[in-house]
């Protein structure tokens, strides 16, 4: 156990090597390499349609790849059997762009769904943990008995985050967590991700378009372009970069407004 923890500190939590993904004749990802380190919040940016969500979905295993290897928690996902895969899946949480809450279940049932599947926990403890998770993501316990259709956009994202966190994962994937939120709500959400990362020791893989998120929440930024990572590093590295898209992104009108 201790040795396993040791090796994980040294190795990146996600190691993507030479990934190629193709839809028909269009090559979306072309020999892409990416490492995500334990305990960091990685912001993942790039132009619309560059394949940010595709990479996320490829790592999670929803999109088949043509070539390359993906290791998560040191487990090669292609070489692993079902049991190993389930173990890995139990340790990550995914927040989809639209929330992807189960519309026929209440908020409580949504959050408890993974717990029922993976853990043997009493109903009382599940109810209490549900409320703990809701409190963590900044929602009131009363929300628990509402259905997803009765929630606002921001609340859906928060509940979806609570569901992604319900098994206390080590790694969470956030696909545009702040899109569709008002700036204050988005700022709160960034703050929330930071707090949760601190308290739960999470590693966060965050696809985003939001410059504020990059500045306030992320430790490191990776930029996707032409199917490859064109740059990775701190926000200062990004600003110093001479790459045309990066220059436009980090020195454009909106970026200047964010930096004040």
């Amino acid at each position: 156990m201790a040795r396993e923890a040791q090796s994980e500190i040294q190795d990146p939590i996600i190691r993507v090597r030479d990934i190629t993904v193709q839809f028909g004749a269009t090559r979306v990802l072309d020999g892409l390499d990416l490492d995500v380190k334990r305990g960091e919040i990685l912001g993942f940016v790039g132009p619309s349609g560059a394949g940010k969500s595709v990479l996320t979905r490829t790592i999670i295993g929803l999109v088949p790849k043509v070539a390359g290897s993906i290791e998560v928690f040191g487990v090669d996902l292609d070489a692993s059997n079902t049991l190993q895969r389930r173990k890995v899946e139990r340790r990550w949480g995914v927040l989809f762009q639209q929330g992807a809450l189960f519309s026929s279940l209440t908020v409580r049932q949504n959050i408890q769904f993974p717990m029922r599947e993976y853990l043997r926990v009493s109903q009382r403890l599940m109810d209490e943990i549900t409320i703990a998770k809701l409190t963590m993501v900044g929602l009131k316990p009363e929300v628990a008995d509402r259905f997803p259709s009765e929630l606002s956009g921001g609340m859906i994202k928060r509940v979806a985050l609570a569901r992604a966190l319900s098994l206390d994962p080590d790694l969470v994937f956030l696909d545009e967590p702040t899109s569709g939120l008002d700036p204050i709500g988005a700022g709160d959400f960034d703050e929330l991700v930071r707090t949760l990362q601190r308290t739960l020791g999470l590693t966060v893989f965050m696809v985003t378009h939001d410059l504020d998120s990059l500045y306030t929440a992320c430790d490191r930024i990776a930029v996707l372009g032409n199917g490859k990572i064109i740059a990775a590093g701190s926000i200062a590295d990004m600003q110093a970069s001479q790459h045309p898209w990066l220059r436009q992104y980090f020195h454009g009108k909106r970026a200047r407004a964010v930096m004040g």
């Binding site: 156990m1 201790a2 189960f102 519309s103 026929s104 409580r108 717990m115 853990l119 043997r120 926990v121 009493s122 009382r124 403890l125 109810d127 209490e128 943990i129 549900t130 409320i131 703990a132 998770k133 409190t135 963590m136 316990p141 009363e142 628990a144 008995d145 259905f147 997803p148 259709s149 009765e150 966190l165 098994l167 206390d168 707090t195 601190r198 308290t199 739960l200 020791g201």
Partner: protein
């Protein structure tokens, strides 16, 4: 350090220390809960109690909450239980959990007699609501139809043709196949039983009257309700779920005019055509069986058929078709627009659309039977 979690009691002077060790995570939750429940019995003892977590190897929300639960139940009145030895890593998690309000709201899933009576009452009241909804939709569709008559340019021809293709053209193979088979079966059964009386040839009378008056149109209407009624409900329902219908409304379009009217029109035109094709296929199938199985050759079959049926039989059948189409369409659209936000609701309304559609088709058939009997057709 790591391994199975434990909660040991160590007395230090007049204080009692509860030493938590091992891995306090979700995987050990059943063990942890039992230990915490055991330790909770110490509440009310005169000693001061503190919980020592310095030896905990791993802590997650489940473990942190159980420690917090223990702390709360040991805290009584002035005696507050303390958590000691909290490492910096986990202190923020424990702080976070401490903010959680206790007494969770629980599911109210119990069934009571009053609840059941209430349910029955609501269902009965719902029937009236259903009928009102259908009349409402009928009115809205007629109004939209008249508006379109006054402004023919607002008529959606492309959409109507598209739905005609879906509902009529693409339904032809399955409708023809099934009615053909039913015609075969009716003829076979007829011959089998009529032969005992030496009345083989009367199977043609039975086939002709039954197929043209009842079976043709009824069977096709039921198939269309299952095939197209459900599709209409699912289409409109998912559009409702994704706020597409609200989007139409905000752009100044009437959803009834844009979505419902073309669908209704396609259905009302399609069902008579399908009913006619179905009746022909059934007669053909019946004739084939009569020839091959009953030895009634085609010429004799046709001659007998011409004597047995009149144009009245055909009219009685075909007149019912557009009315049944309208009933199916209205039920399907009402159900589609009643879909709420969840996937479950979509499923329920699609089921309801087919069940109600078939039910009303059969009711209408009964009403028509009485009507035609009274006017002597």
């Amino acid at each position: 350090m790591s391994g199975d979690p434990k909660l040991e009691r160590i007395t230090k002077g007049n204080a009692l220390a509860l030493c938590a060790t091992g891995t306090w995570t979700a995987s050990f939750a059943p063990v942890l809960e039992r230990m915490v429940a055991d330790a909770e019995k110490l509440a009310g003892s005169p000693q001061s109690i503190f919980i020592d977590v310095s030896e905990v190897a791993k802590l997650d929300t489940f473990g942190a909450w159980l420690i917090e639960r223990l702390r709360r139940s040991l805290t009584q009145g002035a005696v507050e239980a303390q958590i000691a030895g909290l490492s910096a890593n986990y202190s923020s998690l424990v702080d976070e959990v401490r903010r959680v309000r206790a007494n969770p709201v629980t599911d109210s899933g119990t069934i009571t007699i009053t609840g059941m009576l209430e349910q029955i009452g609501r269902t009965v009241a719902g029937v009236a609501g259903t009928v009102a909804g259908l009349v409402d939709m009928l009115g809205a569709v007629l109004a939209a139809g008249f508006r379109t008559l006054i402004h023919p340019r607002s008529f959606r021809l492309t959409s109507t043709v598209h739905h005609m293709e879906q509902v009529c053209w693409r339904a032809v193979p399955i409708v023809v196949l099934i009615t053909f088979l039913i015609g075969c079966i009716i003829a076979q059964q007829g011959i089998f039983h009529f032969r005992r009386f030496g009345a083989d040839i009367f199977v043609v009378d039975m086939l002709g009257v039954l197929v043209l008056r009842e079976i043709g149109v009824l069977l096709v209407a039921i198939m269309v309700a299952g095939r197209s009624g459900s599709a209409y409900t699912a289409e409109l329902g998912s559009m409702k779920m994704r706020e597409e219908i609200d989007a139409l409304r905000t752009m100044g379009f009437d959803p009834i005019e844009v979505l419902v009217l073309p669908r209704m029109l396609a259905l009302v035109l399609a069902l008579p055509i399908l009913a006619f094709l179905g009746a022909m296929a059934a007669l053909y199938g019946g004739g084939l069986v009569a020839w091959l199985y009953g030895g009634v050759d085609p010429e004799a079959f046709l001659l007998r058929l011409r004597d047995a049926i009149s144009i009245d039989h055909f009219i009685v059948g075909i007149v019912k078709a557009p009315v049944m189409a309208a009933v199916i369409g209205i039920v399907a659209c009402v159900e589609g627009l009643a879909v709420q936000g969840s996937a479950e609701s979509l499923g329920q309304h699609t089921t309801a659309s087919v069940v109600k559609g078939i039910f009303f088709v059969i009711v209408m058939d009964g009403v028509f039977a009485i009507f035609f009997a009274s006017i002597g057709m």
